[in-house]
Amino acid sequence: MGMAIDRDDTQFHVLAVDDSLIDRKLIERLLKTSSFQVTAVDSGSKALEFLGLNNNDADDEEEYEQRDSNTESVSSDEDQDLGLGVNLIITDYCMPGMTGYDLLKKIKKSSSFKDIPVVIMSSENIPSRINRCLEDGAEEFFLKPVQLSDVNKLRPHLMKGRSKDIDSSHKTTSTRLITSGN
């Protein structure tokens, strides 16, 4: 249920991942200024934990999970409509333990979360790094320090996801609704 189209579509929930306290505070403020709901964590493993995936699950999920697309998409739709789910993940690249790239790979391997847009941030402008992240599924790559103009680029990715959900709930096979330039 809950295609809640009447609901204010600006309340997106972003999960921010960064080991730097300063950068977490900054990204949180940037996102809140742009009317996003924010959860900020300091590591990739905490991010997976928050999503309800532990490190092992993310790798095994594909193997063990039945591809029951009906129940899968309904539950995530409900989550997103209720605003409990995460609509976008923005992560630092350089983190001890699990890097942002590692986190990206795990998210993309997860059938529950592979459709959540992931954005990577880095203080280092390394083209090969940027290309690899984008090729492996990151929607955007922001150079730090991240600014409001960067955060403004997030909304289209979130709107895309929102209309995809509405489509799959309607079980329509027609062309994907694009909400253009809000």
Partner: protein
Amino acid sequence: MERNPMRRQLAIMRQSLFDQGHVDEQFVQLEELQDDANPNFVEEVVTLYYRDSARIILNIEQALERKPFDFRKLDAYMHQFKGSSSSIGAKKVKAESTLFREYCKSGNGEGCMRSFQQLKKEYATLRKKLGAYFQLARQAGPVETASRPK
């Protein structure tokens, strides 16, 4: 209460932070995130920065006491410090961090030590200037809008 002279003094102080190269455009970005609901955002972030920096500086000092230098570790610490300095717009400190990292990459221990001394000086100067600036800002009362340096 004489707000205007204070505000004028505050603007002058602020301008000199930019003119003297202590802070850059990122500092303006921080100011723009400050509003009625978050009136002390800049100072809060800077305070976190001091706390974080104290920890990193100590780590580097300790690492520089161990011979031979672990350049990889030193570089890793400085990468962190550079990152947070960049995030608050600390221009000179950031530049000195970059230099330090270059010395690390080329395994130049003497260069590292010299650069670190310089960095600590820049950092101390920044703290002093920002400290005076925030103190005056608190006395002068809330400022409505951020203005760009000319």
